[in-house]
Symmetry: D3
Subunit: 69 residues, 6 copies
């Protein structure tokens, strides 16, 4: 399935931290650094996300802001 | 000012496309490619965002999804 | 690719309305009615979204609110 | 009060799982299945959301993505 | 209907700017200033939003970031 | 750094509640009341957010809905 979200950054899962409902997944995308994704614990379990996995950080364009010095 | 959004990817504005209300800003972050940000036309004007600017793509962690093959 | 977004509602594209930057896609998911997705014009073009297509409305759980009478 | 969010899917609360800060609410909307909403624990308490409640899953159109095979 | 979104700021519509798909609504909430809401043109029409209306700016808590100097 | 998010409401941190992954920050913006921000625990720690801090509640315009009676 193709998805309308315009942004997909490939990387490797560096760390997964699981709470009661939510989980934080650190994805190392090398050059610009590490992306943090906060998703449900359920998603982490259903997709079997664990350290070392090759994954993509997917972001809808309307969620991206622009910062300028 | 420091902002709670965990993700800031530095890059260069590659293209700005402006509609009546919204604008699409393409930010080249080199290695993983191009990030698309959809922000208001007003923000583009207030920050003076134009091709060649050094900017950051800023994303709140709760907006990042994880895709896995 | 599997995606962490927990909600995917299958339906048929009923209408696509395109602006300068954004586009509105009406997805008929039958029983509860019609879902409106506002995505970039670019996504509509890249995925070739048109009336009659079988698509899914995909929503990250953190974006869903609950209303109660 | 009417709200600008275009998408409201009526259903029944199937399950509520509560963490320290966030809560996951499963809403059965019958035909297309179950919607997961991640909201604050505070909202669950203030609205008194519990299994069996008739509620609506409310989603702003800009948060809906489109997936296509 | 009560909604799980924790933040509702009452104000007066100061300006409505309409594009092909999206619309920008400026809501004057007096003390801290003006809130900009970008919603669909369809919502503006369905709710009949116009200058001078008493409205609320409604925001899900997971969408609020914190900035600190 | 200037950020494209159009909405920044200045206030004082009234309360911080920390879970395993997420944290809830109550920001008193006086006139219209209290804003709730749900951010990562990591952000609370990195920015050192605590009761009494002067902070801003920052919100992207596409995340603001409009309610009307």
């Amino acid at each position: 399935m193709k998805i309308s979200a315009r942004n997909a950054l490939e990387g490797t899962v560096e760390n997964v931290e699981i709470g009661a409902v939510m989980a934080s997944v650190k994805i190392n995308i090398e050059n610009p650094g590490v992306i943090t994704a906060v998703i449900t614990k359920e998603s982490v379990e259903k997709l079997g996300i664990k350290k070392g996995d090759n994954v993509s950080a997917i972001i809808k364009s309307t969620e991206v802001m622009v910062g300028k010095d």
